[in-house]
């Protein structure tokens, strides 16, 4: 499905295809799950990349809760990209691993704890494309 097709008529577009914006209800992340080997991953494919079974992958709604697996704090990036930012790998409850910015915490290696509970939140991205279209992105936030 193209990002356009997944977008509600006049709302923001999803930043990545695995971010789903239903016509009604909250946005969510969607992975694929293999019926044959239960592997979970991002991105549609005809054949499971874990077990090689064809036609066994189906959409799987990912949880908005997870835990911080690892992170890095990025200080040098492309021109125009605000630094520092925390690049985080998050393992989601029920399976699936996603990468994104960790927000709502100081970019300080002493404060950021690997294993800390986080939640996925959805916000309008601070960037637009050349045509001026808005995009919905996701972030990770510490969860109590």
């Amino acid at each position: 499905m193209t990002p356009e097709a997944a977008t509600a008529a006049s709302g923001p577009r999803p930043i990545v295809e695995f971010l789903k914006i239903p016509a009604s209800g909250s946005p969510y992340l969607e992975g694929q799950k293999c019926r044959s080997c239960s592997a979970i991953f991002l991105g549609e494919r005809a054949t499971c990349s874990s077990c090689g079974t064809t036609g066994s992958c189906e959409p799987f709604r990912l949880s908005n809760r997870g835990e911080l697996y690892v992170f890095s704090i990025v200080y040098r990036s492309f021109p125009g990209i605000e630094v520092p930012y925390v690049s985080a790998i998050v393992d989601l409850e029920g399976g699936g691993t996603v990468k994104g910015n960790l927000i709502g915490i100081d970019p300080d290696p002493v404060k950021i704890k690997m294993g800390m509970p986080v939640e996925v939140v959805y916000e309008i991205a601070p960037r637009k494309d050349k045509e001026g279209n808005e995009y919905l992105t996701y972030y990770f936030k510490p969860r109590a």
Binding site: I15, V74, Y75, T97, R127, T137
Partner: protein, 382 residues
């Protein structure tokens, strides 16, 4: 099938920045040096395997032959991220092992100039994802890989930084290294932070470079003289098997572990038999992971290993005595041939000031993200 495959000649140009030279010119320079070292002419060579990444569609091998002799031999150009050079070498090794050729040239070459370490901003439509959906930049990707080790074993920023102190120190004794400066721990840790915990001095150096090797069958090696010949006792290439996090966090560990197990089996040795190792220190964090991946120490012991100087020159198992990618430089397609040159030079007893005394067996490792892992184990013959 040929019994054994030998390196009968190998050399590299000093890594650096050569904006006035072309990629084929750099490759030709290394090729000529290796042919001379082997005592053979291009007319003796039956095939060329060439590794280059940034001009992968540019027929670099053929253009090298335009510089050194268009003899009409088959040329295979390979591109496999940072395992490009090792992939070319393995192609040459397989062709001799299969009994197709007796004398084959391998060239790895790259021109990076002052290109940033960061890579491209990424494809796909919509808006740029970098800095919104985390980081796909190499310093951060390898920082995250290092943080996995920190999470498991408590490895510290200081321990990662010590890798860079060691490799820069090693490079002061290598005349072919891009940089040859000592960088004390406070300098490494105090350098500009690129992606925590990797500072600028913990990132490999983007350089231009080329390295080459001449491989021979047992029969041809005996004909040329075995005195300086180095045996290739294992040549292994792996790709990354499926793991759940691999898509967002490239797994550099599993493919290295699988390659190491296969390489030790093929060579009939274990990690304790190694006298030196050149491994893929693209970032200081990566070197720590590969101590365990290659079995140089037990699980969780890599931090202690760097603390106790076991991998420094003169230590139990010296790692990256060339200066490694961190100081010698990392010309992507050349790296996997240059580290084989380094091992071979020690086994020949020709490494000068940096010679690892009595070296008989060595291992060269590279990993290309995406992923490909290449390992070669070399043995002294005389």
């Amino acid at each position: 099938m040929s019994d054994n495959v030998y390196i009968v000649g190998t050399d590299m140009i000093r890594f650096g920045r050569f904006p006035d030279k072309s990629v084929p010119e750099l490759g030709a320079e290394a090729a000529q040096l290796a042919l001379k070292d082997a005592g053979v002419k291009i007319q003796d060579v039956e095939a060329l395997y060439c590794g280059n990444l940034m001009q992968a569609s540019g027929m670099v091998g053929q253009r090298i032959l335009q510089e050194i002799g268009q003899t009409g031999i088959p040329v295979t150009n390979s591109a496999n991220a940072c395992a490009t050079g090792a992939t070319a070498l393995r192609g040459a090794w397989m062709s001799i092992k299969a009994g197709v050729y007796d004398l084959v040239l391998v060239v790895g070459v790259e021109q990076l100039g002052k290109m940033g370490l960061l890579g491209g901003p990424g494809g796909g439509g919509g808006i740029p994802k970098e800095g919104l959906l985390g980081s796909g930049l190499m310093p951060a990707v390898f920082a995250e890989a290092g943080m996995e080790h920190a999470r498991k074993y408590g490895t510290t920023f200081e321990q990662f930084a010590k890798v860079s102190v060691k490799n820069h120190q090693h490079s002061t004794r290598n005349p072919k290294s891009m940089y040859r400066n000592e960088t004390p721990l406070d300098v490494v840790m105090g350098a500009e932070m690129i992606a925590y915990p990797n500072t600028k001095l913990m990132c490999s150096v983007n350089v231009d470079g080329a390295a080459a090797a001449v491989l021979a069958s047992e029969k041809k090696a005996r004909e040329l003289g075995m005195k300086r010949a180095v045996k290739i006792s294992a040549s292994i290439l792996t790709s990354d098997p499926f793991t759940q996090r691999d898509l967002v966090m490239p797994d550099v560990n599993t493919c290295t572990r699988q390659a190491a197990a296969k390489a030790y089996e093929m060579a009939g040795i274990g990690p304790d038999d190694l006298d030196l190792v050149e491994l893929h220190d693209c970032f200081a964090t990566a070197e720590i992971l590969h101590y365990e991946n290659l079995g140089l120490c037990g699980e969780g012991e890599a931090g202690r290993m760097i603390d106790e100087g076991e991998t420094a020159h003169g230590g139990r198992i010296p790692v990256n005595v060339s200066g490694g990618l961190l100081s010698k430089g990392h010309p992507l397609g050349a790296t996997g041939v240059a580290n084989v040159y380094e091992i071979a030079t020690h086994l020949r007893g020709e490494a000068g000031d940096r010679q690892v005394a009595g070296a008989k067996v060595g291992l060269a490792h590279v990993i290309g993200l995406g992923s490909a892992c290449g390992i070669h184990i070399l043995e002294k013959t005389s």
